[in-house]
Homo-oligomer: 476 residues x 2
């Protein structure tokens, strides 16, 4: 059985794209649907999203954010109010033109993002500085009519969280933009074990309508980059476009300052592409919906009792454990736990019990650890989960560092991209023409500006004095 | 300030409909949006929905259900496969006809419900009895192109949970239909303090596509009925329409049995219309996002320290308390806590402290309770919350009983409906022509069949032998 299951997954080093979709399918994270470009997020995948929501939502609320829900549909007229936004999104929205049996007088788009709706709301609800700040967030689905789609990474409909805040001062809004980027950064590093890099998007790559965009960029196993979360500073751009004003402390009418920030189900794709292997999904313990599976081998009372005892102990100590009591063979269960990325597998067999031992198997290294039955199982498991979390981060960081390069001219950049893509540090003058020229090499784009102070050196493209230190890469 | 706030709410007995929307607006539960028929669920309203989700989701998972996410869009072709369903929903769906800049080859509707998508998924994922049951649920938004809308009660877009399960036997599916109705029933009674009545819908009123529909019907303060949650038994109707089959234990191919069940944000509307009053929202403690507000009066260190001490004690004992530290006047804070339906308000004043007393105010009865500072505040508050929960249920039950009538003929029914609508028990022969005739009286409909065994008596409409004991009423 085991071999049969493993055969389904293409080797990561042979065909990365196929390996990715094989893992998505084999671990039952998502499936294609009858709606082109839209996926079904299956229970195994959705449970990861629920974990992400649980952890992040708690963080947001700690900082004073509250959740709300804006409508799914946006009237064309409302969308059009902010010029950059409509230009950025109009080519990729879905339009509702018929409601019930009637043609609509004004067509409605399915939200690709909700700046317009929040502004429309704030315009009637923000009157005085006393109403500010408003720290609103919503968890919802959005839709972008993408041409090429891949499960989790780019699908027409996806789930996300979008925070939209509004402040009385520029400083406060800038601080909010920063602190939310930090929340994401810590989440990626500490929970997802993904060593993302923080930076600022270039003018060309920033969010349509933003004054600037902060981003967390992560490197996938194959050297491609993935944008994992963004935080936008809008200044007064949207408040001016949507006529949001407030009376400040000096009793003067003023435009407030806004931010927005979001993360999506794409992070599930990142977990696969950073951590997983040819045996299936590998999940960091902190994000794994189930951390420990206990697999009893053979149907003996002693084995079953010990399994239950261990499960109970672990559950009572906040370790999400479960017994696989299904009718399948032990070999099949091992393989299934492996494909599904359960961080620790505990095997309890009758013969082992005679020797007073049980076996722990780490999913990340596939290492088997044999222990005496009388060990402090809770402490051992807790420590092992911590070790796995730490080791996974270190391993991902090592890979990232191995695939991080430096280029001082276009030729070097081209060589790197032709050999092995990765994060490429390259100085930049700030001219978007250079960005466009670099893009001609395999579609390589600026990922983020990591430094813009006292840059000493020349632009990787035109050779003129550089203003920015930038990471370049091929994106998903 | 207080009077000013209260003025905003029309009296419940003067204009119930206006009172309802006044409460929705004054408590900042929801607001109208620029999209006709769609509302913005504001943080106060959304927090109630989050509490509902938290409690119900835990219940669902305890029973073995798992969450997933189906696409938002349904191709026309797929929707059309089950005849009754498409007939029931086609007049009230929104159609996407354009994606990006292109006309679509096949139009897509925004899901009004997701039976079709679940069936489409099950058709490829259910093969053997070993794959069954699948106990899937999703929390999502749906859209129905209603003509007349009211916040929470009937809006074009609403949030809900839809469970879709598939089983190998008829018995198991029937059991599931029952147990989920019981989950809802317990939730309405024990958490929302709403004494709903369980029953079965008539053929005319059942869900399009169901073999039968179970329902929980609640009575609002004005005597109108509201359907609070339904659980449908589909038999093999959908599995046949969508070609879902499985190999049973006898190795024969068979059609599986399905159910679906759902509750919506409409329950927020019910909380208003059952419990609330002319001072605003009244929430049962078990569903209130915030159970206790502490209002310090005057800015003294002693008052502030005691406030903090009490807040901490309550929070440590799982009572969600907070201090209102805003710049507003105490009177305004009292009124705001009242409008927002916080179950208990604790007032701590400097002069009271000199006499060693603090004041508790119950939101439901508006009763003031003065206590010595040295009481066991946690126990007292816990007991008071329990008392409020119990009293609110009893009060709602008393109102329901007062507005529950019995009619033996059409004349009696008409008299009741012209005087004071409510739940009207009336025997019924089972002929839908009688249902239609009854509907002519102020649109009165069958709410549910409460009994269909050994009925002794005659149909309230035609006078022939009755088969069912039915509750009739005017619905929202």
């Amino acid at each position: 059985m085991k071999e049969n299951k493993l055969k389904e997954i293409t080797s990561r080093d042979v065909d990365f794209a196929k390996w990715y979709t094989d893992v998505v399918r084999a671990a039952h994270l998502a499936d294609y649907s009858s709606v082109k470009g839209c996926i079904v997020i299956e229970p195994n995948g959705y449970a990861i999203w629920e974990r992400m929501q649980e952890i992040l939502d708690k963080e947001f609320k700690k900082l004073g954010h509250v959740n709300c829900q804006m409508p799914l549909l946006i009237p064309e007229n409302l969308l059009k109010k902010e010029g950059d936004l409509v230009e950025g999104f109009a080519p990729e929205v879905a339009w509702v033109t018929k409601g019930g049996e009637k043609e609509l007088e004004e067509k409605l788009c399915i939200r690709p993002t909700s700046e317009t709706l929040f502004c429309d709301y704030y315009a009637t609800h923000v009157k005085s500085y006393r109403d500010l700040p408003k720290l609103y967030n919503q968890w919802c689905n959005v839709l972008r009519w993408e041409k090429e789609t891949r499960p989790f990474l780019r699908s027409r409909e996806f789930l996300w969280q979008e925070g939209h805040t509004i402040h009385s001062t520029r400083e406060e809004a800038i601080k909010e933009t920063d602190r939310m980027m930090d929340v994401y950064y810590r989440f990626h590093h500490d929970v997802l074990a993904i060593p993302s890099i923080k930076g600022k998007k270039t003018e060309k790559e920033k969010f349509a309508g933003a004054e600037y965009t902060l981003t967390n960029e992560a490197l996938m196993y194959n050297g491609f980059s993935l944008q994992l979360g963004t935080s936008h500073y809008f200044g007064q751009k949207f408040s001016k476009a949507y006529g949001v004003t407030f009376t400040n402390k000096e009793n003067k009418e003023e435009y407030p300052y806004q931010t927005s920030w979001g993360i999506t189900t794409r992070m599930i794709g990142a977990l696969i592409m950073v951590h997983s292997d040819d045996y299936g999904l590998v999940l960091p313990p902190k994000i794994a919906p189930k951390q420990v599976v206990i697999i009893p081998i053979g149907d003996s009372e002693e084995v079953n009792n010990l399994s239950k005892e261990i499960e109970e102990k672990l559950l009572n100590n906040e370790i999400s454990a479960y017994i696989d009591n299904s009718e399948k063979s032990p070999g099949f269960k091992f393989s299934e736990a492996e494909v599904n990325g359960i961080p620790i597998r505990i095997e309890i067999g009758k013969r082992d019990l005679e020797q007073n031992i049980i076996t722990f198997v780490r999913r990340d290294t596939r290492e088997k650890i044999t222990k005496q039955i009388d060990i402090d199982i809770v402490t051992f498991t807790k420590n092992l989960l911590d070790t796995i979390q730490k080791d996974m981060y270190e391993k991902a960081k090592k890979r990232r560092d191995e695939l991080t390069f430096k280029a001082t001219n276009l030729k070097e950049m081209e060589n790197i991209l032709n050999t092995q893509p990765g994060f490429i540090y390259g100085l930049w003058c700030g001219d978007s023409k250079c960005e466009e020229k670099i893009k001609e090499i395999k579609g390589c784009k600026s990922r983020c500006i990591v430094d813009d102070k006292e840059i000493d050196g020349n632009c990787v493209c035109c050779g003129k004095k550089a203003e920015y230190n930038v990471i370049w890469g091929i994106q998903y």
